[in-house]
Amino acid sequence: MSRLLKIARREYLAYVRTVGFWLSIIALPLVLGISTLAPLLTMKSAQPERLAIVDLTGQNLGPAIAKTLVEDQGRATARALRSAALSAAGPKAQEEVRKAQVRGGDAAGREVLARYNPAAAARFKAPKAKTIVLPAPAEAQAAKTAREAGVAARRDVAAKRLDSVLILSGRDDAVVMDLWSRNLGAPVLENDLKRAVGDLMRERALTRAGVSPQTLKAADDLKPVFNSLSPKAASGEKVALRDRLPTFVGVVASLVLWSMALTGASILLNSVIEEKSSKILEVLLSSASVPEIMGGKILGVAGLTLTVLFIWALGGAFALINFAPGLAADLLAVLLGKGLIFYFGIYLVLGYLMYAALFAGIGAFCETQRDAQTLLGPIMMVMAVPMIFMGQALRSPDAPIVSALSWFPPFTPFLMPVRIASDPPVAQVVGTTVLMVVTTVAIVAFSTRAFHVGALATGKVDLRTLLGRIARKQAG
């Protein structure tokens, strides 16, 4: 085994045997899982809002509002069923479920889903009702004015007999809604009620103006047929989810590459600082060449990051295949079909190499983390730029600013994965890649020189001193 591989193996084993490494592998999926599941669990565990309606308008709006809220719940269930069909069996199943819902309601939709994925159909649970409408307490019901009703509502809400009480007053086209709530505002309920009452007011105003209920129903059902089209779509025109998937995959890949490059480079930096401060570096230099030491360390840490990626990919694939096989198939098709995985591989290798070499070179000058922070400040600022423009890249991968920034080699590995999904001109792909390769080679050469100078240097080092020492080494 060559010296480079021996150094790589030591580097790999030194970290992979620590508890911290395995904790860090679990940490990210755990945080992601918690942040995804927490809102769902919160929603599931949340009790429905107990709402009472006191109607002083004399127009019998209460039952109509309650009916609207029940209809909202039905629509939410239908949407959830279609979403489950998309995750479990793909867009075709989603469309079939939708058609079945139109024909025979959610029960029919569920039967269709069961044909595609019985487990998903069995697993499906309709979302809990957000609100249940209860009869208003007698005192509030007997109130003659909004003020009297308000006094009673306040008492009922404060005593937790109800979560909210809606008092409707005013007349015809000037309905006033007073919502007493246990919380300081209930934005979801407020919006639902505003929409429901607004719809009723419009409907009744139109009825008074002579519009028949049939016309009203027909007008309500009017919806434009919307087609999203693009020459970049796989079909050549109509945009499907699979067409949009590559951009999302690009963003996720970009974030993963960024975090891998940063994490790997930081591990490398800490490792070099440990060896420099404990003078191990000097012994290593007497046993191996600088390219062997740096190459071994970079390779060893690359092994670590690949181990992390592999474990995450394996866990992700397992979860997708079991819980969203349709999405898993689409993802695989996107990654392989457009060759994205090949580009991601190139950007991962070059991005990691660029930053890992730079961090290793800097680490050789540092005996403490504080020394490193002084020198790393400018680099961290540079690394933050692609993240600032990530949102823009997601919305518009070919925007001039995103396109221009992707030509800057330190940003290329993080912005091009997002852009590559939108089929940028070949010249841009080749040009940015060539520029990145040249820059990476230059950075590796510069860092190797810096590593040699830094490994034997003593004393405090700032950026100016560092560059001066490297320049002298070059001249010497």
């Binding site: 401060s277 191990i280 000097e282 007497s286 046993s287």
Partner: protein, 305 residues
């Protein structure tokens, strides 16, 4: 091969600073050579140039027959001045790793590491993390790491620094063992006593220049022998004795004086002693003092280290 290491007109500059100036000497193969000088004398820079860690600004260095030490790095063992090991590694793994970098197969490295650790009384600690070892134990582990590949040339930079007297004595024993198996040892130190006890040859450095290169006995001869006289006798009475050179005097706590008189090369001090007794001087104690390496160093550097 006569010389394991040879330097000719070697200099090292850092910008305007001359760390090493026109230094030349040889390290005979199979011998122990001391590389002596105070801190800042240029010893570490010279050692780094010998090892190929630093390029020389001028001059020529040959190590084990090669112009570039990095070509024969597998035949060299090196212990740096400030020492450290991977704290979470065990001694046996650390030794196997460093021996492996020098080309020793893992199984053989493990066998040697075990044997050497046991020989140094560290068998019980071979699988403990290095961070749990005492400083003396960790330093032994590092020395074993530098020797496990059985190098022909062993370069030790200030190997005694930081060691207590017991461990210093143990290290002297290890250095003698290395030489006994035929390896060449070059070690730097600023403590002359170690060199006096161990070295066949010494190279003295001061302010980046070589001031002496030869065996210990020759180095000592650079300083004069001295006759020490103690008692109730004055400096004038001592100065009047025959066959003595310059006299340095100091008062002792009991009221007597201690006079150290340099002996010229042709003087044995006998005439001075006979005369002192003949004159019935109040002489309480006398001693003929051979020069130490330290005395020689002071003379050779003119007292300006």
């Amino acid at each position: 091969m006569v010389n394991a290491v040879s330097l000719e007109g070697v200099s090292k500059t850092y910008g305007d600073f001359h760390a090493v100036r026109d230094v030349g000497f040889e390290v005979p193969a199979g011998r122990i050579t001391g590389f002596l000088g105070p801190n800042g004398a240029g010893k570490t820079s010279t050692i780094r140039m010998i090892l190929g860690l630093l390029p020389a600004s001028a001059g020529r260095i040959t190590v084990l027959g090669a112009d570039d030490a990095t070509r024969v790095r597998d035949r060299i063992g090196f212990l740096p001045e400030e020492r450290g090991l991977y704290k979470r590694m065990t001694p046996i793994d650390a030794i196997v790793f460093f021996a492996g970098l020098k080309g020793v197969p893992e199984a053989e490295g493990r066998r040697r590491a075990k044997a050497m650790l046991e020989a140094q009384g560290l068998g019980f600690a071979m699988k403990r993390p290095i961070k749990d070892l005492s400083k003396g134990m960790a330093q032994k582990v590092q020395l074993i790491s530098a020797l496990a590949h059985e190098p022909e040339l062993v370069v030790l930079d200030e190997p005694f620094s930081g060691l207590d007297p017991v461990n210093q004595q143990a290290l002297e024993g290890m250095i003698r063992e290395i030489a006994a198996r035929g390896a060449t040892v070059l070690f730097s130190t600023h403590v002359m006593q170690h060199a006096e006890r161990l070295c066949d040859k010494v190279v003295l450095m001061a302010r980046g220049k070589k001031v002496f290169d030869g065996d210990v006995a020759t180095a000592r001869r650079a300083a004069p022998r001295a006759l020490v006289l103690e008692g109730a006798l004055s400096a004038a009475e001592v100065a009047a004795l025959p066959g003595l050179g310059t006299v340095a005097s100091e008062a002792l706590s009991d009221g007597d004086w201690r006079h150290v008189a340099a002996l010229p090369e042709d003087s044995t001090g006998q005439d001075a002693l006979k005369t002192a007794f003949a004159r019935d001087l109040a002489l309480r104690r006398f001693e003929l003092k051979e020069p130490s390496l330290h005395d020689a160093f002071i003379v050779l550097t003119g007292g300006q280290a």
